[in-house]
């Protein structure tokens, strides 16, 4: 996500170059064709969804479906649950990956490929396999363990009000995205020299991390957080199979009874995601231009 703005600027730069050089305009035509094709691919389903939500048979245009979202049973609860899970996942995944990425860069550069592979593994494992494993573990629990803290922990992590087990699963799913964002962010600053300079000025390691590394990683951390949030808000399989009603599962449930409302919610959540993305990339651009 952090690369959004640079991509835009590159396009602008290459766009003006041929014109200045007086070269034929054909590349520009091709760019237009590609853009239109991509736009059709993305926009047609969106417009279709939107039309479906506002077009009421025999009545014509109506925004009723959007109005019903907020009054629909379970909307607020499931959205809050998903947002809460998202925030908890972000905190945990950042706490895990940031110190690890910094430590590997400074102390054991040779382990970097290993860490990269480990953090990419969740992409290879299908969620269905993952959730099958989790539910097997959660079901296991002989009665004689019923009074032990282990058993009670197993019960506690499945509390439907805030299923910690989902946070743990989402942290694993978010690892590839979080790690890659942070690693790119660390690559953009001279971590070694900066931390040595800070150490030289008397800073302890936690101080180096909090006052030197993190402030210079803001946009990378924002991008990691956003990707994680988007992932949690959209994750269906694991929550569904463990029977927790997160936001996507709520959409799925009401789609059976209120098809129009469920599509309206989808369009609505897409809109929110876009706004978040926009806020993030503009925050990133502000930081680059020098706060």
């Amino acid at each position: 996500m952090a690369s959004l703005t640079p991509q835009v600027t590159t396009q602008v730069a290459t766009g003006t170059a041929p014109a200045r050089g007086g070269r034929p305009r054909r590349p520009r035509v091709w760019r237009g064709v590609v853009l239109v094709l991509a736009a059709v691919y993305f926009l047609v389903p969106l417009i279709a969804s939107f039309v479906f939500t506002v077009e009421v048979p025999n009545q014509g245009f109506s925004l009723d479906a959007y109005g019903q979202i907020f009054s629909a049973e379970g909307f607020g609860g499931s959205l809050l649950l998903s947002l809460g899970l998202g925030v908890a996942t972000i905190v945990l995944v950042l706490l895990l990956t940031l110190p690890a990425a910094v430590a590997v860069r400074l102390g054991a550069p040779r382990l970097r490929p290993v860490l990269e592979v480990v953090c990419t593994l969740p992409l290879v494992v299908p969620p269905i396999t993952f959730v099958a494993g989790i539910s097997t573990v959660l079901r296991w629990g002989p009665d004689y363990l019923a009074t032990t803290p282990l058993y009670q922990t197993m019960i506690a992590v499945q509390n439907p009000d805030f299923p910690v087990v989902l946070v743990l699963a989402y942290v694993v799913l978010a690892l590839p995205f979080a790690y890659r964002s942070l690693d790119a962010g660390l690559g953009a600053i001279d971590v070694r020299t900066l931390s040595e300079a800070a150490r030289n000025l008397g800073a302890s390691w936690p101080h180096v991390l909090l006052r030197v590394i993190i402030p210079n990683m803001r946009s990378a951390m924002a991008s990691a957080s956003f990707l994680t949030l988007a992932l949690v808000l959209g994750e269906f399989t694991i929550a569904r199979l463990l029977s927790f009603e997160t936001f996507p599962n709520w959409i799925y449930r009401i789609s059976g009874s209120q098809a129009q409302v469920s599509v309206a919610v989808s369009v609505f959540s897409l809109l929110i995601t876009w706004l978040l993305l926009l806020a993030l990339s503009s925050a990133g651009a502000r930081q680059r231009s020098g706060s």
Binding site: L194, A198, N200, L201, G202, A203, V212, P215, N216
Partner: protein
């Protein structure tokens, strides 16, 4: 601010199969500016990093004012450091960069700002306090880094090639300012560089390192005039290698017999090491006898011109002549070549046998 005495004792450090430090012994006197000079990979930066606490020596110890600090963590060493690459914190402006160390020590804000301003004035940048590193030039960034390193009044100042990323003109002015500042503060300073000119012009003493060991430590004039080893002779300044024949404590070279500096080697045939300014050349006038060689290249440097002279036997000799005389030594001119009458350094003949002029290092 009073300078501390720094001692490296038998410092050894190896990285895998490469030996960075191979028993380095060196004492830096209080208030002295010492330059660690050597080719890349000679261990000079590793020595500095051992003193800063960023490297742990495998063997040996580092002492500051007699106290062993080898195992003290880097953040409790009381040594200010300026790095080769730009090391200012990008998220802080110049003033906050300078006061970073004071902030770590929880000094009150007003005091911090006043001290930061004082230091920025000291390095000649009184009005950049509000600017961020990316708004400063390379030279300005290194000045701010210097102010930051001095902010905590460290007992030792460590400079790790701080000028190498700057362009030539800035490099010269900044090195003069660093020296002036160092003298006025009286702070013990260790300056790592691979640039011999920088080392010779700034330092009280220069320590030449090779393969993790100390080759020679001496004041710049001694190092230049009386290099202790052929390596130092070649590394510092330009040097000619001429074939000579030793007999007793005298050596015959280019038809002249000169006393040998130091002990003469046992072999009869030797390399005689002569600085370009100790080579005398005179143009052969039209009526005169045959010359010894022909000027191949003449490079004008202002006060002097350096000639590359091809001798009859194929040897090349570098010779310096006064700049205003350079017109008399245009390429193609036949010249007589002699040596200034003073003791010369000799070394056992190198295996390759060919006596060649050392490639000219970049001397401004």
């Amino acid at each position: 601010m009073n300078g501390a005495r720094v001692e490296f004792r038998g410092l050894r450090r190896r990285f895998g199969s490469t030996v960075a430090l191979d028993g380095l012994d060196l004492t830096v006197e209080p208030g002295e500016l010492i330059a660690l000079l050597g080719p890349s990979g000679c261990g000079k930066t590793t020595a500095l990093r051992c003193l800063a606490g960023f490297e742990q020596p495998d063997e040996g110890e580092v002492l500051v004012d007699g106290a062993d600090i080898t195992r003290v963590p880097a953040n409790r060493r009381d040594a200010g450091m300026v790095f080769q690459s730009y090391s200012l914190f990008p998220n802080l402006n110049a003033r906050d960069n300078v006061s970073f160390g004071m902030r770590v020590r929880k000094a009150p804000t007003a005091k911090r700002h006043a001290r930061a301003q004082e230091l920025l004035e000291l390095v000649g940048l009184p009005s950049v306090g509000e600017r961020y590193p990316h708004q400063l030039s390379g030279g300005q960034q290194q000045r701010v880094a210097l102010a930051r390193a001095l902010a905590l009044e460290p007992r030792v100042l460590l400079l790790d090639e701080p000028l190498s990323a700057l362009d030539a003109k800035v490099r010269v002015t900044l090195r003069e300012e660093i020296r002036r500042l160092q003298l006025s503060l009286g702070i013990t300073t260790i300056f790592v560089t691979h640039d011999q000119e920088e080392a010779l012009s700034m330092a009280d003493r220069v320590a030449v390192l090779r393969d993790g060991r100390l080759e020679q430590v001496a004041d710049p004039a001694t190092l230049y005039d009386r290099p202790a080893t052929p390596f130092v002779a070649e590394f510092v300044g330009a040097m000619n290698h001429l074939t000579g024949l030793v007999s007793g404590d005298r050596v015959t070279v280019l038809g002249q017999t000169l006393p040998v500096e130091g002990r003469a080697p046992d072999t009869a045939q030797v390399d005689v090491l002569v600085r370009p300014e100790a080579v005398l050349v005179t143009p052969v006038d039209a009526s005169g006898a045959e010359g010894d060689g022909i000027v191949m290249v003449s490079s004008f440097r202002g006060s002097t011109a350096r000639l590359r002279v091809h001798l009859g036997d194929g040897t090349e000799v570098l010779a310096d002549v006064p700049g205003h005389d350079s017109a008399r030594f245009a390429p193609g001119t036949a010249v007589r070549v002699g040596l200034v009458e003073r003791p010369v350094l000799v070394s056992a003949r190198s295996e390759t046998g060919a006596a060649t002029a050392v490639p000219e290092p970049d001397v401004v």
